[in-house]
Amino acid sequence: MAVATERQDPGPAAAGVRRGGAPPGPRRRGPGAHGRARLIGAAPYLLLLPALAVTAVLLGWPLIKNGLLSFQNLNMRQLIQHLTEWNGVDNYRETLTSEDFWRVTLRSVIFTAANVVLIMVLGTLVGLLLARLGSKMRLLLSVGLVLSWAMPPIAATTVFQWLFATRFGVVNWVLDALGWHSMAHYNWTGGQFSTFFVITLLIVWQSIPFVAINLYAATTTIPGELYEAAALDGAGTWKSFASVTFPFLKPFLLATTFLEVIWVFKAFTQVFAINEGGPERLTETLPVYAFVEGVGNQHYGMGAAISLLTIVVLLALTSYYLRIVLRQEEDEL
């Protein structure tokens, strides 16, 4: 039917092509110029090609493969014997109806929220501090920030494990020396809350540099005259922050928060390496849960389903920002 319509009436379709195609300008030139212009027009896409190809191979393909696995019953036996057993949406149904999944989801959301709030508040404060410091202290602080940012996650996690070790950890030693003798042999990874405390400290410490340096960079874009004008109008410190600094920083804060939500939510290395989701699976966040169910318990299909659901949850969490970005793009069009 649709084909027939097109044949009978080519007018609108052709117009559509023209409207969506290249700008009319170059079309009027000669054939040689036309080819070169086409090449120039294609240049951005050609330049994008390598990056897109790498993304497709390293992210797209595993994602498709993961999607396929999530509809299979793939465990030890199937893996060893190379069997493919499709089981429809069983994995999804079982995950979505399990109490565990929802408990872990709630835990992940709370964990992400707590970390992101801490990271943003402390990171912003450090960023503002950077802007106010003299050049020597600023250099010192910047070096410190860059070093902690550059620390590989597993190395950082190992150092934190040593710091918080039960018998020989320096944290317990200091607490004991300060008078909290009951903390002398405190087992930090023995309880849900104390384990999360250590993980949160680690993650916040690792993320502050990114926020701080970003925010500092943003403050350098604020023209100094604005502060002078505000001061002339009688604005105090707080007032000039609220009406000059903050409006300038807002888009940066929004973008950084968005990135931090993603970063914390998908933090696997730190959470897993500190205590492997223990004690008693009480510190498993969604990525760890997917790993433990999928790889740990060797239910690979189930793990794939959980990891895809994890992406859905993450998309839902970031939907507010995504909507803003999409709306902005529409406005630009």
């Binding site: 994602l63 893996l79 190379h82 990135l259 993603i262 998908k266 793990g303 992406i311 920002y321």
Partner: protein, 423 residues
């Protein structure tokens, strides 16, 4: 938007890349005339192969077959995934050490070669209690290698202080001794946390209980069985002599380190845990003694959990004959005996237990090995032991006041759910 998607996709990529399948390979040349020039790859676990044993077995194997032996030591951490992946490949390791309770699960996958003829030729007098774990569906899929089991480690000084001269021969005597320590000294008679689950598993073996039963074609909880309740009652009597937490297992805190402080009469643990105590407090070394966990009557030790390993041949290995040659050498009386002597582990034949002389911990462990057992030898069991283990939950429930029947009922759903996980 794109950044978000890419980052989110990254999570998935990170997670799934681990699960990617091994590739199907094409078959290499099958068989060979003689073994010369071939190399046999053996995976053994960290700590299983003492140096002297390794050197001697290697020399004997290479001399007899003319092939080379490549021994690769594996770490316990993440071993199940590693073995699964290895067995799925076209060129797996030829011989693998596999934990005894994990053997049925691997046998079920079809990844292990059937060894009925090997059992016939060299396995006639393998201990039955050890061989059970190597049999699945009536067929032999591995050879029992060694086991270790729990004993009582006691503080001789505290026992002497309480005026006790001999180690107990029956459970009743043991309880009486603990009572004496309680009354005559200020020490804790025994350190036993509420979730020393492998000790409890041993007690159920002692009362002849099964933790699971078959309901139609499905395995379901059998914790409500009075025999399980009876084992739990025994555990509860032991636990009443301890101040240890009822909701923790023996690793939090490490019971050996508690014992090292010298204020604990005894604990139930592995022989090697003494080394942990000595490391924490070197002065305790001369006070540590060992005895077999006594059973109901004299001469019949308590049931114990046999933790150990089997040797299996990968079904996908192209060197089946050479691999069998290796097993015949590694498991013969000379080298199996040497393993027991050097490693202090219980060998796969009772006749070889004489090799344990001079090792008090192993000598205390050996008498119980013949009547020991394991966890239920079904592939479904592995899921049950993932934390939080419902059997541990059951134990704590009984110890904090529920009746065994009530406690069994409260964890039944969770246990059944885990037993019915699709494979």
């Amino acid at each position: 938007m794109k950044r978000g998607l890419i980052a989110a996709t990254g999570v998935a990529a990170m997670l799934v890349s681990v699960a990617a399948c091994g590739s199907d390979g094409d078959d290499d040349k099958a068989g060979a005339d003689g073994f010369k020039g071939e190399t046999l790859t053996v995976w053994a676990m960290d700590g299983s192969t003492p140096d002297g044993w390794t050197k001697d077995v290697k020399a004997a194997f290479e001399k007899k077959t003319g092939a080379k032996l490549k021994l690769e030591i594996q770490q316990w951490n993440g071993i199940q995934q590693k073995v699964t992946t290895a067995l799925s490949e076209s060129d797996p390791p030829d011989v693998l050490e596999i934990g005894n309770t994990q053997t049925p699960a691997y046998a079920q996958t079809g990844g292990l070669a059937e060894l009925d003829d090997l059992k016939k030729s060299i396995g006639a007098d393998w201990s039955k209690s050890m061989n059970d774990s190597a049999v699945y569906d009536g067929k032999q899929y591995a050879a029992p290698w060694y086991v270790v089991n729990r004993v009582v480690l006691y503080n001789k000084k505290i026992w002497a202080e309480a005026g006790i001269k001999d180690t107990p021969k029956t459970r009743t005597e043991f309880f009486k001794d603990l009572d004496t320590i309680q009354k005559k000294t200020d020490a804790e008679p025994i350190y036993l946390p509420g979730q020393n689950w492998y000790f409890f598993d041993g007690l159920t073996i002692g009362t002849g209980a099964d933790l699971v039963k078959k309901n139609g074609d499905k395995w379901v909880s059998n914790l409500a069985d009075p025999k399980v309740g009876k084992a739990m009652d025994i555990y509860k009597q032991y636990q009443s002599f301890s101040k240890a937490p009822k909701d923790k297992d023996e690793a939090t805190p490490q019971q050996a380190e508690v014992f090292a402080k010298g204020k604990t009469g005894a604990f139930i643990g592995m022989g090697w845990e003494a080394a942990l105590s000595i490391k924490a407090n070197p002065k305790i070394e001369k006070d540590i003694g060992y005895f077999t966990i006594p059973g109901e009557t004299e001469g019949k030790p308590e049931g114990v959990f046999l933790g150990g390993s089997n040797l299996a041949i990968a079904a996908g290995s192209e060197k089946q004959e050479l691999a069998k040659e290796f097993l015949k050498i590694a498991l013969n009386d000379t080298y199996e005996g040497q393993l027991a002597k050097e490693g202090g582990v219980i060998p796969n034949k009772e006749s070889l237990q004489t090799q344990l002389k001079g090792n008090p911990a192993a000598q205390a462990a050996a008498p119980a090995a013949a009547t020991g057992g394991t966890t239920p030898l079904i592939p479904e069991w592995a899921a049950v032991e993932n934390a939080p283990n419902p059997v541990k939950t059951y134990m704590t429930a009984v110890l904090t006041g529920k009746s065994p029947a009530e406690a069994a009922k409260s964890v039944e759903d969770e246990l059944n759910k885990r037993l019915s996980q699709e494979r």
